[in-house]
Amino acid sequence: MVIKVISVIAYLVLAPIVGCILAGLDRKVSAKMQRRVGPPILQPYYDVRKLFEKEKMAPTRYQDFYIIAYLVFLIGAGAIFFAGGDLLLVIFTETIGAAFLVIAAYSSNSPYAEVGAERELLQMMAYEPMMLLTAVGFYMFHGSFTVDDLVKPDTMAFLPMIGLFIGFIYILTIKFRKSPFDLSMSHHAHQELVRGVTTEFVGRTMGWIEVSHWYENIFLLGFIFLFFCNGTVWGCVIGALVCIAAYFLEVFIDNSFARMKWQFAFKSAWIVAIVLGMVNIFILQLVF
């Protein structure tokens, strides 16, 4: 119990710091790939601090509630994850968070926000099957949905679940909002719709959304970590290294592809889920 509390507190404190540094590295690496110098590593932090100092405004009186709910549930999902909770519960809690973000965008009745919101919904529909299948895969292999049991198994799930792993990396591009699947909002100014779902969020609100992305990125990487746990220190080390590698792979992809149409994003994500996810599940069923 004490360990759980510590790990949740550690997550609440450390996740935004690590997430922020990763985001800074992301910008640095991206800049290097584009032959620019790039901003300092802590630039994301400076940006957010500035956002918090801005005037307080909003297009409607209701936006605040939706955003607060978004933050509570999104960060809560991570907390459940690091408390060793149920993997499905983590996914469902995150879905409520995501739903509130979409509703917040819709509530402004702004055309740009609404287009972004609808694309966000499309992205949710695209990645959700793969997320759920991954959780199911862990259950079939380790016999449990709880993160508690998944971090201390006897065998590494990576190879038996390699299809699910690749599929998960694929949808991680969507979840990290990286090009070619940054349809609903983007960090690149050259896209046809840039701020999308966040168009109508300003100042402090926007700052919180940035922070929530840092939280989200960390516990998504936690999923990847689970593929490598085998009860030994080496499993943890490999897991951590692969997490970092996966993050920079996404940065690499982000800078190497132009944005795709929604049809491609949706269909390819589902095809990956069917081919890699379902086949892997079937094999797990046959073997284990």
Binding site: T60, T95, I103
Partner: protein, 642 residues
């Protein structure tokens, strides 16, 4: 026993009284009192029997049996006559086949089979009675106000409301009978009455479309009725019993042989639960006034179908053809009905597809047939009944005030009808979001599917729930949009309608809060009784507690922050300069342009026709293979005996 008889007979008596009551005032009075009595009666019944492990009642039924037979003949004659009158010969033909078949069986074999217990009640029946008695009654109350407006909108036409309320109450009585009959012949009798009642309700407006759709519903349900009759005949002649309880006991003795009659009963359940390929009748039922849809979708009719399948669950399962057939039909229906809902703009059709999809999930749970799956299935029945009736009744009210049932026209409902929009948003959240009930049940469903070892079902539920979130959220977004300069048109909503909305909204939340108790005291003992051994709820208690905490957090956040922001209100961003009203901007040459926003229907991927064709082909294949295998087993069995 007295309470149950009362709950069957009393609504039927009220039905006839209402047929005679012509004035609005008298009808209002009668309906208010009668629904209060029915709701109270169902609660009394629950208190009486909730603690018992299930009671069986002999009820000496010689006279009742003959009475039912006489009524059945009368109804058959009626169906044959109306079928010919409206040139729907298939309906006549089906009635002409099944009723004589049934009478022949009853007179030649049925009488020799001794039925020990005609009626029973267990915790599942109690749950069903509560749903029928409370939700059904609320819908009747709502119908009072709604039908006044309806009559007002159709001023030129004959006032046939007495008939409408007659059928509504008849329906409630028949449903209670259906969920407490142990004698399959009695159950069949109530089954047919519900089919006919929905036929009358769907055809209420008597337009060409209504009549066509009502006959479609009748024909499909008569087809299911035929399956029911065949099931009874097999059960009677081969197993020598007519009792549901005995049949389930035989399941543990004779194993999968009992799946033979069960397959036919399940087929009847599938037609009534509007599973593909029979889903078109429930969509057609949308022509009827909204209370009809609410009643059919939440507490009666389709719930009879899934009740049957949940009852049969112990003899289904992955090991026999009947079980496989049922779970695959349910699963496929869930996936493709969910997909089809994306392409819909008509709110009632979205609700209809969502009902079909959720029923598919319940049917699949019944087909899987493990205690865990049945737990999930019953939870789905409870939550779905409350939430779906709330949504239908909100759409009905909105329709009368904004003059449209299209989701695209619900732009700014949040401003125009704030209360109704709020209720609707809560209802929608209840349909798919954690920590509300449907999500809890879906979670349990998913776990039970994984355990069942049917990986196709696992895939189906993963993809299906992603799709479900999409179509609900885009509707919810439309509702929550704050559109400037809209007028509030909510003042003229009938008090009775608001009362029902509020009650159902409270129920949606309260049932989510107390569901661990429902599980502990209702479902788990029921499952222990049916499956033997010690059953546990599927979700661990810590997860249930987290769910309840999440709901509390959500309610608390809403109470603290909803609409209370003190931030400066600023205009939204439009590509041109916002004129200031948030609806118009200055385009090129200073031209004023008003924008409008539309939902996303993805016709090219999730077109309704396409989804239905694929779903129909797959489910027909499942049914043909399933029933075919069952008949083949039957023939080889009979051949072996001879």
């Amino acid at each position: 026993m007295g309470t149950i008889t009362f709950l069957i007979i009393f609504p039927m008596i009220i039905a006839f009284v209402l047929l005679a009551a012509r004035s609005d005032k008298a009808r209002d009075m009668i309906v208010y009192i009668a629904t209060a009595v029915i709701a109270a009666g169902s609660i009394v019944c629950a208190i009486q029997y909730f603690g018992s492990a299930g009671e069986y009642f002999p009820v000496h039924g010689e006279v009742v049996g003959y009475l039912m037979m006489a009524i059945e003949i009368g109804l058959a004659v009626y169906i044959i006559y109306t079928g010919i009158k409206h040139k729907k010969y298939l309906a006549s033909l089906l009635a002409l086949v099944q009723t004589p078949l049934m009478i022949w069986f009853e007179l030649s074999h049925g009488h020799e089979i001794e039925v020990q217990y005609n009626m029973y009640i267990d915790r599942l029946s109690v749950i069903m009675i509560l749903i029928i008695g409370i939700i059904g009654s609320l819908i009747c109350v709502y119908a009072l106000g709604y039908m006044k407006d309806f009559q007002h909108h159709h001023a030129g036409e004959k006032d046939r409301r007495p008939w409408f309320f007659f059928v509504m109450f008849l329906f409630l009585g028949a449903m209670v009978g259906l969920v407490t009959s142990n004698n399959m012949i009695w159950m069949y009798f109530f089954w047919e009455i519900t089919s006919l009642s929905s036929f009358w309700l769907i055809g209420y407006t008597r337009t060409g479309e209504a009549i066509n759709n009502s006959f479609r519903a009748l024909i499909m349900n008569l087809l299911g009725g035929l399956g029911f009759v065949i099931g009874i005949i097999i059960l009677g002649t081969i197993f020598g019993t007519l009792e549901l309880s005995t049949m389930l006991v035989y399941g543990s003795i004779y194993g999968d042989l009992v799946a033979i009659p069960a397959a036919f009963f399940a087929f009847a359940g599938i037609t009534k639960a509007a599973q593909m390929p029979f889903n078109s009748w429930l969509l057609g039922a949308m022509v009827a006034p909204t209370p009809t849809s609410a009643l059919l979708h939440s507490s009666t009719m389709v719930k009879a179908g899934v009740f049957m399948i949940i009852k049969l669950a112990p003899v289904l399962g992955i090991s026999n053809f009947a079980g496989l057939m049922v779970m695959m039909v349910g699963g496929i229906t869930f996936l493709f009905a969910s997909c089809a809902a994306i392409s819909q703009n008509n709110a009632k059709r979205v609700l209809a597809y969502s009902t079909i999809a959720n029923l598919g999930l319940i049917v699949a749970c019944g087909g899987v047939g493990t205690p865990e799956a049945v737990w999930a299935g019953i939870m789905l029945i409870i939550f779905h009944a409350i939430t779906k009736s709330l949504l239908f009744l909100c759409v009905g009210t909105a329709e009368h005030h904004i003059g449209s049932r299209m989701i695209e026209d619900m732009d700014g409902l949040f401003v125009r009808m704030p209360k109704v929009a709020m209720f609707m948003i809560i209802g929608i959240a209840g349909m798919f979001l954690a920590p509300f009930g449907m999500l809890i049940s879906k979670w349990a469903t998913m776990t039970s599917f994984v355990d069942s070892g049917n990986f196709i079902l696992v895939g189906i539920i993963c993809f299906g729930s992603a799709v479900t979130a999409f179509y609900w959220l885009k509707w919810m977004g439309k509702l929550s949009a704050v559109v400037a300069n809209e007028e509030n048109v909510e003042q003229s909503v009938h008090k009775s309608e608001t009362f029902v909305h509020v009650t159902l909204t409270i129920l949606t939340v309260v049932v989510c809060l107390i569901f661990p108790l429902i599980s502990m005291y209702g479902l788990v003992p029921y499952l222990e009784g049916v499956f033997g051994g010690i059953a546990t709820g599927l979700l661990s208690s810590s997860n249930m507690i987290i769910m309840v905490i999440m709901l509390a957090v959500l309610v608390l956040l809403a109470a603290m922050f909803f609409g209370k922001s003190k931030k400066e209100q600023v205009p939204i961003y439009l590509a041109g300069v916002n004129k200031g009203d948030n609806r118009t901007y200055y385009g090129s040459m200073q031209k004023e342009v008003q924008f409008s926003l539309r939902n996303w229907h993805m016709e090219s991927i999730f077109g309704e026709h396409r989804m239905n064709v694929i779903g129909d082909v797959l489910t027909v294949a499942c049914l043909v293979i399933g029933i075919g295998a069952v008949i083949a087993t039957l023939i080889s069995l009979l051949g072996g005996v001879a």
